[in-house]
């Protein structure tokens, strides 16, 4: 059982790593290493080599605008160059709206007297960070169970024992990632282009059943031991509204593939965390002298309410 869990976790971690690695590869200009926001009103450009001070200190060589507003150039107040002449910090008159990607154009970059041409760069919040914030957001801050109140039937049904809860959580995470990715592809490449949005409910529920069936079959063939451990939960997964809610949210928010993956993973892991916490608490409640009218589900609801009160502490949190 333990090995099974460890294997699953390992697989999940590897998937996440792979996803992160592939995103980090995109480069924009060979001479510019990195651009990033700093403070509320700064953009920092890191060059691969030293740039000429005369070029760097001239504000007219830069133009910066928010992506949807190419006509409105942002006013650069001061420019500072680091002693090694590799880093330029542009300070703007007004605070930047860092939620928007900014487009930075650096014309005629000169380094040691040599002109290196013009670079157009997009400055945005670290994408990895953004992905990470989607993951953490779905997992903890906007936990689907405690702050979005979804998936409750299964949540209360399978949180009585810790082992059941963990099994359910893992199974659920796998299925939701599989079905959400399938749903995303179908939505992006079939439903949306052909304006069949109204079919999304039917399509998504069909996909969920399909992926449950697929996981069931594959598991049964590939790893019967794993199937024995988790097979019983597969039937329950389909009655969980999170699994249908995630594709719907993906469709509403127009996430890209990676973001969708993060959201689905976050939703699944968040459900796992919620189940784990709830089950460990309920195992203790089993022993408590709960008033008879509250025994069983009612007290579980009250405890979930207390959880939700505690999770209010996360309200308004934005990590990146």
């Amino acid at each position: 059982m333990n090995i099974v869990i460890r294997k699953c976790l390992l697989a999940a971690v590897l998937t996440v790593l792979a996803a992160f690695l592939t995103t980090g590869c995109a480069t924009e200009h060979r001479f510019i290493k990195k651009t990033a926001f700093k403070d509320t009103n700064q953009i920092v450009i890191e060059f691969a080599g030293p740039v000429d001070e005369a070029w760097a200190k001239n504000p007219s060589h830069y133009s910066v605008y928010e992506k949807p507003d190419p006509d409105i150039k942002l006013k650069i107040q001061t420019i500072t160059l680091s002693p090694d002449r590799k880093t330029v910090a542009l300070t703007f008159a007004d605070p930047l709206n860092q939620n928007q990607p900014h487009v930075l154009t650096a014309t005629g970059i000169t380094s040691e007297g040599k002109s290196l041409g013009t670079a157009i760069l997009s400055v945005k919040k670290v994408y990895l960070g953004y992905l990470f914030s989607i993951l953490i957001g779905a997992m903890i801050i906007n936990n689907f169970v405690f702050t979005k109140y979804l998936g409750l039937c299964v949540f209360f049904g399978t949180s009585q024992k810790k082992s059941t809860a963990v099994g359910m959580g893992i199974t659920f995470t796998i299925v939701i990632v599989v079905s959400a990715m399938m749903a995303w592809f179908l939505y992006q490449f079939v439903l949306r282009p052909y304006r069949l949005n109204f079919l999304q409910i039917v399509v998504f529920i069909g996909l969920v059943s399909l992926s449950v069936q697929a996981v069931d079959t594959i598991l049964r063939k590939v790893n019967p031991m794993l199937f024995k451990a988790f097979g019983v939960y597969l039937v329950l997964v389909i009655a969980n509204c999170i699994i249908i809610a995630v594709p719907l949210i993906l469709a509403d928010n127009e996430y890209n593939a990676l973001e969708s993956l993060m959201l689905a993973l976050g939703a699944g892991l968040g459900f796992l965390i919620a189940l784990f916490l709830m089950s460990s608490v309920r195992e203790r409640l089993e022993l408590a002298r709960v008033p008879p009218t509250y025994r069983g589900l009612p007290i579980a609801f009250v405890v979930a309410g207390l959880f939700a009160l505690a999770f209010l502490g996360f309200s308004g949190m934005s990590i990146f």
Binding site: R284, G313, F314
Partner: protein, 333 residues
């Protein structure tokens, strides 16, 4: 008539009542100080809070046909702690509602003392936060001594117009805070003594520290949780709290807000904290990390209370993971 019972026939002199009332005594100095800082209403609020908690305890136990144990002082502690984490400027009837939630729902519905998953006082506070968000996040009073300094930003019309140091820090930066207090050393000394806006019982780091040390000396609590909470708050603030990494101000972070109150008196609540040393350290470190997370990235300027609440449900799992090392475990078990 000779009594016949199972061994042991002698018991240690400690009792639940003794522990609880000692904690109550340790909690009193900050309350007395708060009367000097904010005025008599803090005393009234605390009294209402304690009275309503005790009443709620009695009524709940009566309703649920349990022996009435208001004399053991646990409801008094709940009442005091709940009063300590609400702003001094709230209407004094507010704690009554919190008491019902804290004592009846969070404690007695779950089986009474020993079975509550969450710290009742903090549940009461979270409930009040959700119910009276405006009062609970803005009814700060300036310290009486130099009230004028703390009227934050422009001309205050009524008294309720100051802001907690953490709020100022979060939204206006350290400069604004320096302006209020004069100098960095003035900030530290005022924070240590408690001469600053804040919740009723959280302002005086010094008195809380003394009370906590007394409890540690009496062996009612161990050093693990307080130290790990304070150290991790300091550490994470130092790492993430500044403009760059490793430039935060850890001293300011632990002196401001309710770190000492939370570390010594709330996180150490027997029922809602783990009992093994490694688990305690993890529990405390988790509280510290979540506190800093909420302070820096969250929607509230202060996060100790929510951090403790968020770590509380992890306690059963932590206790399962960290059990005492068995002297002679059965083979194969």
């Amino acid at each position: 008539m000779l009594t016949v019972s199972v061994s042991p026939h002698i018991k240690s002199g400690e009792s639940v009542e003794k522990i609880m009332w000692t904690v109550v005594v340790c909690l009193l100095p900050p309350l007395i100080l708060s009367v000097f800082i904010f005025g008599v209403q803090t005393l009234i609020i605390s009294a209402v809070s304690v009275a309503s908690c005790v009443a709620a305890e009695a009524v709940s136990q009566k309703l649920l046909h349990r022996p009435i144990t208001i004399k053991d002082g646990s409801a008094v502690i709940t009442g005091l702690l709940m009063a300590y984490v609400i702003p001094p400027g709230v209407p004094c009837w507010i704690p009554i509602l919190g008491a019902v939630m804290a004592i009846y729902v969070a404690k007695h519905l779950l089986g009474g003392i020993g079975f509550n998953i969450f710290n009742p006082a903090l549940i009461g506070r979270a409930f009040l936060m959700a119910t009276f968000p405006v009062a609970m996040t803005s009814a700060w009073l300036p310290p009486i001594r130099d009230a004028a300094v703390f009227k934050y930003m422009g001309s205050g019309i009524d008294a309720v117009s100051t802001a907690t140091p953490l709020y100022v820090l979060k939204h206006y930066g350290i400069g604004a805070l320096m302006e209020k207090f004069g100098s960095m050393s003035a900030i530290y000394s005022d924070f240590l003594v408690g001469w600053r806006p804040g919740c009723i019982g959280e302002t005086s780091a010094l008195l809380l520290l003394l009370g906590g040390l007394f409890l540690i000396y009496k062996r009612y609590i161990t050093w693990h949780i307080p130290v790990s909470v304070i150290v991790s708050v300091a550490f994470f603030t130092w790492v993430f709290g500044g403009e760059k990494f490793f430039t935060g101000n850890p001293l300011l972070a632990i002196l401001s807000g309710g770190v000492f109150l939370g570390a010594f008196f709330m996180a150490t609540d027997y029922v809602t904290s783990p009992s093994q040393a490694p688990a305690k350290l993890i529990f405390g470190a988790g509280i510290g990390a979540l506190t800093v997370l909420i302070r820096l990235k969250g929607g509230y300027p202060e996060g100790v209370c929510y951090a403790i609440l968020l770590m509380n449900p992890l306690v059963p799992a932590l206790e399962g993971w960290f059990r005492p090392k068995r002297f002679a475990p059965q083979k194969g078990a």
